[in-house]
Subunit: 237 residues, 2 copies
DNA sequence: TAGCAAATGTCTAATTGGCGACAGTTCAAA
DNA sequence: TTTGAACTGTCGCCAATTAGACATTTGCTA
């Protein structure tokens, strides 16, 4: 049961990070991976778990979150098709920083500790690429910290909607673009609130405002966004 | 004007990260550095600046912060004796994530881009160590994100005081310990507020409470902390 | 197609924290 | 020793947000 590299291409290339890795190294990475499957609701790992591998999500959706001391779930983000994650624990050997829960049935590439060590030993030129993955992580985190601190709740919400749209790789590009496209975000207001560490009621109020301004529509269980550009300008308040 | 490694030892070994680097690599790192000096109030770099080097603060104190859109300063942290920083821009070549301003006269080790490249080329075994530095950064950031979200303002304040005490390396150890030691934190309530993105008045109110509980004393321009353990238990609210 | 669970909409009261105002205190430099 | 800037203490008002309660809507499934 070898893994068919070409078959995975569409998923793999969704990652800005992975697509910048030279082709022969891409092959080496995928070559040391095995498949792993999860059912909806299953945990891939929990915060504090020992490191067991580096993953790439091929299909499905994972929620990265953890529980606050009073038992409330705090969602950090969603991992989507093409996302690589788990590299921090791989490198420093310390426990997982978050829970990872399947929100749909998922398929993943898994590179175990052993395989990872062998991979790096065989291809030390991979180091700079993994370093870049870490740098992305730090920059995204710093940006999030700034935004949590400086933006109003409304600004933060708009920012998060944009992040969800751009989805992949924890990273958000600021390219100017026209509003020709409509985006469907499958997320409940409750979940949005958990991500903003706010209340469902407040999120609802803000979404209503945005809806009245024609920026988005609210549906049962999802939101459609009409204007990325307007969200962008609002995410500076 | 070669740099005297032994003379710098006391400062260098304050870094948990650096002290775990093997001795011959420590020498290699310091060997590719030059000295740099700053006066109080001078900027080492500003957010958005092009990368110019990797630094280690030998003496003095730097403030890492940036301006929010409405012009307010948001303090991320203070860099203290022994801290290494600036590695993110070194690795990904992107602009600085924060301003760095001298709060006292400072002396630093500087490793320029060129020197850094040569250093890594000559000692590729350094990669895992720099990776670990990045991992520390990510973990500290994740922790901060969680705490900003889940803790009350009082909890956050206690948490920050602990961080300031442990100071070095962005990292905070949870070792249980007795309250035999007293810590002096040279920081104004105003600055604390900027770090918590709160107001001076609120910070004052909380500090008064803590003072009444005997956990700390408030002075002009600084705070003395008597009980780390009590701060620790309060930083879970 | 009836029923149910999940999601949304909308009130209210209570709480938190921001902010202006101003008085008092401390420290250092002239 | 005086003076002024920086820091701390405190009050009160106001806006934002939370949390509880409950009605309504939606979409799935038996």
């Amino acid at each position: 049961m070898p893994i068919d590299f070409d078959l995975l291409q569409p998923s793999l290339q969704k990652s800005r990070w992975f697509s910048q890795v030279p082709l022969h190294l891409q092959h080496a990475i995928v070559g040391s991976a095995t498949m792993k499957y999860l059912h909806l609701g299953q945990y891939l790992h929990r915060k504090g778990d020992k490191v067991d591998g580096l993953y790439c999500l091929l299909s499905g959706k994972l929620r990265a979150s953890n529980l606050s001391l009073n038992g409330q779930e705090l969602i950090l983000t969603w991992l989507q098709e093409g996302n690589w994650f788990g590299e921090i624990s791989m490198f420093d050997g310390l426990p997982r920083t978050h829970d990872a829960i399947a929100e749909h049935d998922c398929s993943l590439l898994k590179i175990s500790n052993q395989q990872f060590e062998q991979l790096l030993a065989a291809h030390p030129t991979l180091y700079p690429f993994f370093i870049r993955l870490l740098c992305q992580r730090v920059r995204t985190s710093f940006k999030l910290i700034d935004e949590m601190a400086s933006l109003s709740l409304k600004g933060q919400l708009c920012r998060r909607l944009l992040l969800l749209i751009d989805g992949l790789e924890f990273s958000y590009t600021e390219h100017e673009q026209h509003d020709s496209q409509v985006f469907k975000l499958a997320i409940s207001q409750e979940s949005l609130a958990l991500m903003l560490h706010s209340s469902r009621q407040t999120v609802n109020k803000i979404l209503q405002e945005l809806s009245k301004q024609g920026i988005l529509h609210i549906h049962y269980g999802h939101i459609t966004v009409f204007s990325k550009t307007k969200l962008l300008s609002l995410s500076q308040i």
